[in-house]
Symmetry: C2
Subunit: 434 residues, 2 copies
């Protein structure tokens, strides 16, 4: 007695169109893997031009302008939410779950903000709520943490989980581009949004890190609680100095369980040693490096954005749900586990090595005074290089790597130094992650 | 109404002990993730000293010397087969499935040889048969291909899937060790078996590749059908020449669907460009690089062997099965799909670039004659270097990279050259994979 599983798609932008294409073009493969046909029954979008594109591919699909109509249709088993944003998406997913529909979403902002309540609602309704595409596009980070490493205790998760930021920093490193030019190039290549603020400031990575921390540590964290720095202050000189020191600058998201039980969570550009696998994750690639107590290092890389790679993750989730449904399983509950609100380490308490770039007057004795002041604050210098600053007579740059220091102490020391006559511009600090 | 899921473990060697440790030490985490206790009910091993180690950890576990007694016990829901080998393991897994027990195995030889029949038996009995640990230890290659990429068409899978071989080649490259010394070091470090033949000759990688090909392409392939070459003929000079050309030599397994529909399957040492992610997979690490039609490149790396990493994969499978069982799902069937026996490309028909190392007399004109003969056979040379051979007066080495050539044509040409007075030893050939 074969039945089919029927999909309703809400939102037919770039990713949505990728999902339509995948479901239609790979219908034979997918049907084999599910064990029954997976049929795209209905698509909703406010933009009729987008619906016209769907109609041209398959005229039998119901096309609707109101996504809320999809979630109550009798001929829909699985609702795919790709409209983005938080408020409307939240109402839509709730309506779908209330109507006993399984849901697949790629909406990291929604899950980071409302995940706890939504997973509880899904469980209460006996429905699946899947979200592999919400973090790192094609990289199966969710499934691997949740299923493959289910037997292990996760010690840390480090990732390059914002493609736009990595594309920009890679362009700056590979082509010597300035930040603004690299951003424009990313936009022209379709890797950056018209409004790239959420990507560049680290907000997008923060949403994803909140989801990863929930899975890895059972921690319910709000993105606003995560110390977050964007890449907009990374200067081509920093990239050059880092290279000479044997490092690459990558946009990182870090989640680590400290021995105290607190979580070290942060999003910022970081110097990564060239020998680290994350150093080789270039351009639009994303990566997630997991350290497990027993499994050791586990490394996943792939395209973190783009219609086709993300659509594969969305449809992979639909296939999983369809198999559950066909097996008659009420639900393989995968709620975000929660040990409650964890303590998050204040960034001032971070112990790390640091890259520093000082803009100083090109006078004798400056270097000695500077290192003396750092030394007095307990900041020990590992490597240092001084250059005449380009295009600014009488000025010089000093770049250095420190040994481990407490960030609060270091910042106090830098604040004092920047208030003297020694420096001509605020000192630039980038954390080292290794 | 909470119930528990009870595990019976057959074979308590290195991996088995890791599974015992994981189940006992991570019982709290695992119980939370399953939603019910996962209890190790019974362990079987012929070696009573091994059973004593288990008893010391938890005296309540039933200890048995005959694995066949485990599979019929009423207090066992999931059987874990870790005895290895083919014939006895085959009978054991059949007995377990006939007794309606779910099975987890890490036995690649068994699955490569008998997988088709065993999956059919599992399905007929409504049982799960899971095997993540059979390929590449901690790397979730099976789950990623089967679930995460279920919506995509896989174009190729390339992997470093034998830890011993990679450890040996890495030692040769990093420490300049000779093959025999690197092998001894691998054995002392516990990375190579006392009898490492199956690892070194590529047989073990062949078993794993047969499983990967089945998952990726629905192809039922016997390991014996896969063109396989070991690493035993890789010479320190090859590693040095490769490095100067910008390549690293890695033990690769390759599975690719050709445009003709035939499969290109092979196991052999290969030159990999230093920019390729596989080039950075050093020592005991394994990696699997998948190319999907939509998803693009997907890269997974981690420890490919060792008790703890492999045990995490085994217990991850047990957790999955336990969740299925608790959900009341009869089975989420994941049989190895089969489009039947595929055509496998003969290695003579392979089109590839090649590294060649000629041992020649140190006479003028040798190089010109050699390149002329290759040119006459349609073999075009991309790069070439000539050295005086160390320690052998009057002899020289010529190393070169060719452009694409058909392997059969190249071998014919080399055969003719090696039959002239030009060479003093058989010419050494290594394929380039990029």
């Amino acid at each position: 007695m074969e039945r089919e599983i029927r999909v309703g798609l809400c939102g037919c932008g770039v990713i949505g169109e990728g999902v339509v294409t995948t479901l239609l073009q790979h219908a034979d493969i997918i049907g084999k893997r599910v064990g029954a046909p997976l049929r795209l029954a209905a698509v909703a979008d406010k933009d009729s031009a987008r619906l016209d594109i769907v109609r041209a591919q398959d005229p039998s699909i119901s096309l609707i302008d109101d996504a809320f109509e999809i979630v109550t249709r009798d001929d829909v088993d699985v609702v795919v939410e790709l409209i983005g944003g938080v408020e409307v998406a939240d109402r839509l997913v709730r309506a779908a779950l209330d109507a006993k529909k399984h849901v697949v979403t790629a909406n990291k902002a929604l899950l980071a903000d409302r995940g706890g309540a939504l997973f509880a609602l899904a469980e209460a309704n006996g429905c699946d709520l899947y979200f592999e595409a919400a973090v790192a596009g094609s990289i199966p980070a969710i499934r691997v943490i949740r299923e493959s490493l289910a037997a292990d205790r996760i010690l840390s998760v480090r990732g390059i989980i914002n493609g736009t930021s990595n594309y920009i920093l890679s362009s700056m490193a590979n082509d010597g581009a300035a930040f603004d030019d690299a951003l424009k190039a990313a936009q022209q290549a379709g890797f950056a949004e018209a409004n790239p603020t959420l990507d560049i400031t680290g907000g997008d990575a923060g949403h994803k890190l909140a989801i990863l921390a929930a899975l890895a540590f059972g921690a319910r964290v709000r993105p606003g609680e995560i110390p977050t720095e964007g890449i907009e202050n990374v200067d081509p000189r920093d990239i050059q100095y880092a290279r000479n020191f044997g490092y690459v600058i990558r946009p990182l998201a870090v989640a680590e369980r400290l021995e105290t039980g607190a979580l070290d969570l942060r999003v910022h550009p970081a110097l990564v040693p060239v020998r680290d696998p994350l150093a080789h994750v270039d351009g639009a690639l994303n990566a997630v490096a997991i350290q497990g107590a027993m499994v050791g290092p586990s490394f996943l890389a792939g395209l973190g954005a783009g219609a086709a790679p993300t659509a594969v993750s969305v449809v992979g989730d639909i296939i999983d749900i369809a198999k559950n449904a066909l097996a008659g399983a009420p639900v393989r509950t995968w709620s975000l586990p929660s040990d409650g609100a964890p303590e998050i380490q204040a960034i001032a308490d971070l112990s790390s090595r640091y890259y520093l770039r000082f803009s100083v007057r090109d006078e004798s004795g400056v270097l000695a005074t500077l290192s003396g002041k750092l030394g007095n604050s307990g900041i020990s210098i590992e490597k240092m290089v001084q250059d005449a600053a380009t295009g600014d007579a009488g000025a010089a740059s000093i770049a250095m790597l420190t040994h481990h220091a407490r960030e609060g102490d270091l910042r106090d020391s830098l604040h004092a130094i920047d208030n003297t006559h020694l420096t001509t511009a605020p000192t630039h600090l980038i954390r080292i992650v290794e």
